[in-house]
């Protein structure tokens, strides 16, 4: 991420000034791992009722972006927002295959949430007290524009 810092600069005449400098880049790439969730859908026909495992929305989403695996979905060029929402990206995809049109519109937000660090991974001897005050669990999903 881009960061700001100050640096003492000595001019040719020997005078010293403090200047603000920037370093780093706001570079973020999001890649996807294979899905972990399977739910059950039910196919109902006149002959039978058949429960089938289903990866929610995976097929349609991949089709909308003309991809065959989730690993091929790679999101870069995010927009830097500020804090605590650090980055934001909206993707739109639409593809038509065999008279079926797949459409997807997704907004992602990357939010800085140190309060969500897993309690079981806390190492008390390395903690610097006082720590951040715990945040109330008011999950707020990203909203569509």
């Amino acid at each position: 991420m881009k960061h700001y810092y100050t640096e003492k600069v000595v001019a040719e005449d020997g005078s010293v000034s403090v200047q603000q400098q920037t370093g780093g880049n706001d570079a973020l790439t999001l890649t996807f791992a294979p899905p972990m969730v399977v739910t059950t859908a039910t196919l109902i026909s006149k002959e039978m009722t058949l429960p089938v495992p289903m990866v929610p929305s995976k097929t349609a989403v991949l089709a909308a972006y003309d991809r065959t695996t989730v690993e091929e979905l790679e999101l870069s060029n995010w927009t830097r927002i500020g804090n605590d929402v650090l980055f934001e990206k909206t993707v739109n995809g639409q593809q038509t295959q065999k008279k079926t049109t797949f459409t997807d519109n997704t907004k992602f937000e990357l939010v800085h949430r140190p309060d969500l660090f897993p309690a079981e991974e806390i190492v008390p001897k390395w903690e610097l007290t006082p720590t951040i005050e715990p945040e109330s669990p008011n999950r707020r999903p990203a909203q569509s524009k």
Binding site: V38, V52, A60, D84, T101, F102, D104, T106, V111, V123
Partner: protein, 311 residues
């Protein structure tokens, strides 16, 4: 009208200045590490240090003159003077410790002091050492290899204070660079002094991981349209944790690393709402597709999945 507008603007400004940060949807802010008493103590100690240094300057000038006179006498083979430099030095050292070093230690441990101010302690100690060397006396205070030496005892609170500052900057900005640059500077210092500080490095990397926790939130609207329409929305989030290993220290942190999630033990945070469904498609009726997934059971997790085509 103009009066009313100015009052309104005034009220808005007042709200912006007084409202809690959470009123704007921001995450809770860090509670400061320092209290008003810490600020007062810092101010008092800084004044004490600068006042002592001011006094010391005149003492040093006189001492230097005395020292030069004594050396001249020695060179000329004249009987040694009555000045006992060792006891003079000890007195000076004691005075220096009481009026400069002790308050400097308090400054280094004061949470209101910035990293740079805390580093003042090290400068004072080095200055005292130079003074001792000038008098030809080895105090043993500056032995970097001795964990019990004054300089090593001073280094610990200074590094801790600087680490706290970097951690707080990371917690406020979400940018782990603050900790990375701090650790790089300290690791280089330790390397130059041949000091093993792997525990400190592990702590700094742990704090990097502790701070750089991100939540990926998403809102998705998806639609499949043919001679039927099937549409749904998904709201969810995933917690992303850095995969750096604290035991690898700075070396591991400098390697390319990623933020991954969710972990196997993390609860699912997905809410899927079907907005259009159950229309006839190719002679097969689709119904009861994933409507809600919060808290999906373990039996629904699979390493590999079978895709169910909707059409």
């Amino acid at each position: 009208m103009a009066m009313a507008r100015s009052i309104f603007v005034g009220l808005v400004v007042h709200f912006l200045l007084t409202a809690a940060p959470t009123a704007f949807g921001a995450k809770d802010v860090l509670s400061p590490r320092w209290s008003e008493q810490d600020l007062a103590d810092l101010n008092a100690d800084l004044v004490a240090v600068y006042r002592a240094e001011f006094r010391l300057r005149s003492v040093t000038e006189n001492l230097t003159k005395l020292l030069m006179h004594e050396r001249q006498q020695q060179l000329l083979g004249i009987e040694e003077g009555s000045v006992d430099f060792r006891s003079l030095h000890d007195e000076l050292q004691e005075w220096w410790k009481r009026h400069v070093i002790t308050p400097s230690f308090r400054i280094a441990n004061n949470p209101a002091a910035s990293c740079k101010v805390a580093q003042l302690l090290l400068l004072k100690l080095l200055s005292a050492e130079r003074q001792s060397q000038h008098l030809g006396i080895d105090t043993g205070d500056m032995d970097w290899g001795d964990p019990d030496s004054t300089i090593r005892k001073a280094l610990a609170p200074v590094k801790r204070r600087c680490l706290q500052e970097a951690f707080d900057a990371c917690m406020e900005s979400g940018n782990g660079w603050h900790l990375l640059s701090r650790l790089a500077a300290d690791a280089r210092q330790s390397q130059l002094l041949s000091m093993d500080d792997s525990e400190f490095e592990a702590q700094a990397v742990y704090l990097y991981r502790r701070c750089t926790v991100y939540q990926l939130r998403y809102h998705a609207q998806t639609q499949v349209a043919a001679n039927y329409t099937f549409a749904w929305t998904q709201d969810g989030s995933v917690i992303l944790l850095s995969d750096v290993d604290p035991s690898e220290g700075l070396g591991g942190l400098l390697q390319p690393h990623e933020w991954r999630g969710p972990r196997d033990v993390d609860p699912f945070d997905v809410l899927q709402s079907t907005t259009e469904c159950a229309t006839r498609a190719y002679g097969v009726w689709t119904a009861g597709a994933a409507v809600a997934l919060p808290g999906a059971g373990e039996d629904q997790r699979r390493e590999s999945v079978v895709e169910a085509l909707l059409h």
